[in-house]
């Protein structure tokens, strides 16, 4: 018996009968409703293909002292695999992991974004057609949403948020370290420094604007007047949360561009110009 039995008013029979009106067509929409899910699908596929390719490369992810730089790709940071190149890793290494280190570390951002409330909307619409657009019949005969396995796992989003924050701290350290110019005279700023800093800032904005963050910081509180600090945090996060979709796309794009930039510099295709 549900524990709600005590507080629930006596149920009134629900009358579900009755024929629906309107024509039996998939949709009566005439606007270009297919465009948005198609763009989302294409962009996400493009990112997945690039990220998968980059993760399996296991090379050209670090620009080190030989180039007078300290730049590491966000796909490979923190570098914890046995195959990490010298200079790219700290003291902690998973010596038993001999494959690409990106395959370990990417689990965190992948889990964070897959369970993200915004991306759920994006891929439920564009890949799962559930529904493809508002007012368009969804593509499934039966629908149970996120009530059963495997989609009930989406409820662990807050744990990935915490792991994502830890990863952001590592990427912020990488951005700070990118100000070092080893062997070329101490501290400076290059284009790579700016790219890594911008990447870290965007990832922080994306993480802080997350719905789970909003809930954990203050959303769970019922009496704001008794929790002024939590209310203050909630008020800061709420406008950012309204931009979560935009931050999701910008940060996703920039993390790939950051990897691409580091990869091009590391492979010698371009040089990282020093600004000052």
């Amino acid at each position: 018996m549900s524990t709600q039995e005590g507080i629930r008013p006596a149920p009134v029979p629900l009358v579900l009968g009755g024929a629906r009106g309107g024509p039996r067509v998939r949709t009566l929409r005439r606007d270009s409703w297919k465009r948005s899910p198609l763009i989302t699908q294409g962009y996400l596929l493009l990112f997945v293909v690039y990220a998968t390719w980059a993760a399996f490369q296991n090379s050209n992810y670090y620009v080190g002292a030989s180039s007078h730089r300290d730049l590491i790709s966000p796909f490979y940071s923190p570098c914890v695999g046995a195959s990490c190149v010298p200079g790219s890793h700290g003291s902690f290494l998973l010596h038993w992991w001999t494959y690409s280190p990106a395959l370990v570390i990417l689990i965190i951002p992948l889990g964070f974004r897959v369970t993200c409330y915004y991306y759920r909307k994006a891929y439920y619409r564009s890949f799962w057609h559930s529904p493809q657009a508002c007012g368009v019949t969804d593509g499934h005969k039966k629908y149970t949403g996120e009530t059963r396995f495997p989609l009930i796992i989406q409820n662990i989003h807050r744990y990935f948020f915490v792991l994502g924050v830890l990863l952001n701290i590592m990427l912020t350290i990488d951005a700070v370290m990118a100000f070092r110019m080893p062997g070329a005279g101490g501290i400076g700023v290059s284009v790579g420094t700016i790219v890594l800093c911008a990447n870290a800032v965007l990832l922080w904005f994306y993480s802080v604007s997350c719905h789970a963050c909003r809930h954990l910081c203050g959303g769970h509180v019922n009496e704001f007047s008794k929790h002024p600090v939590r209310h203050g945090l909630w008020k800061i996060i709420t406008p950012l949360n309204a931009k979560h979709m935009q931050l999701a796309w910008v940060s996703l794009s920039f993390v790939a561009l950051t990897d691409l930039y580091v990869r091009l510099v590391a492979s010698g295709v371009i040089t990282d110009p020093k600004i000052f």
Binding site: S2, I7, G18, G22, G135
Partner: protein, 269 residues
Amino acid sequence: MAEVVMRIWRGDSEGGEFQDFPTQVSEGEVVLDVVHRIQAEDAPDLACRWNCKAGKCGSCSAEINGLPHLMCMTRMDTLPTEEPVVIAPMKTFPIIRDLVTDVSFNYEMARRLPPFAPKEPGPDGTYRMQQIDVERGQEFRKCIECFMCQDICHVIRDHEENKEHYAGPRLFIRYMELESHPLDTNDRRELLREEMGLGYCNITKCCTEVCPEHIKITDNAIIPLKERVVDASYDPVAWLGRKILRRTKKTATEAANYRTDPKTVKASQ
């Protein structure tokens, strides 16, 4: 004046079809004006529900070119007129006639909602709330019950069988208003998870897109409710924190008992 064809669904529970009504549209007219003119001139038996004609009563909801709108707030000059303007009844609810549907599903789901159960008043016998606590629920009170969010929600729009166990976006904002109310003692989280189908919502935000009051239904009600359900049912760390710090609302049963016999609950704690 512009010439436009209004393609309106005519029929009842036995069946129906679209009927075209060529008509003239004047500057500034809304869809409801044109429907009323058709009623007056061409089809006096055309059924349509309306009341305030000001976007506040929520009566004239219908699907215009495939998406739910308030007919009284949809200006004709915002619609493409080179093709017929298609007006159909809300798809999710049983049809009564023409554009009128039976929305009693929503009222039944409202009856199933455990009501506001205030805690004990202060020593002076009154309740006090600070302005910042009052403000949070104001957004949800803007709801005019047009039920367009319920209509567009694919959980029940495309799956009739889910109506038995899905309250829908309109009711979720009411749940959130009560769940976040500082004076309320009821805990509806388990009910939301087990019987009101919160987990059926997959955050596609159609309810937010169609809301004429621009209530952020998904971001400010459904997702916060989902997070509260995670607190209650899926997060072992939150559970442990509650046990250690003893900081939680009463469980649903405790709250119910408390209202009937406060001493019993106090004695059992």
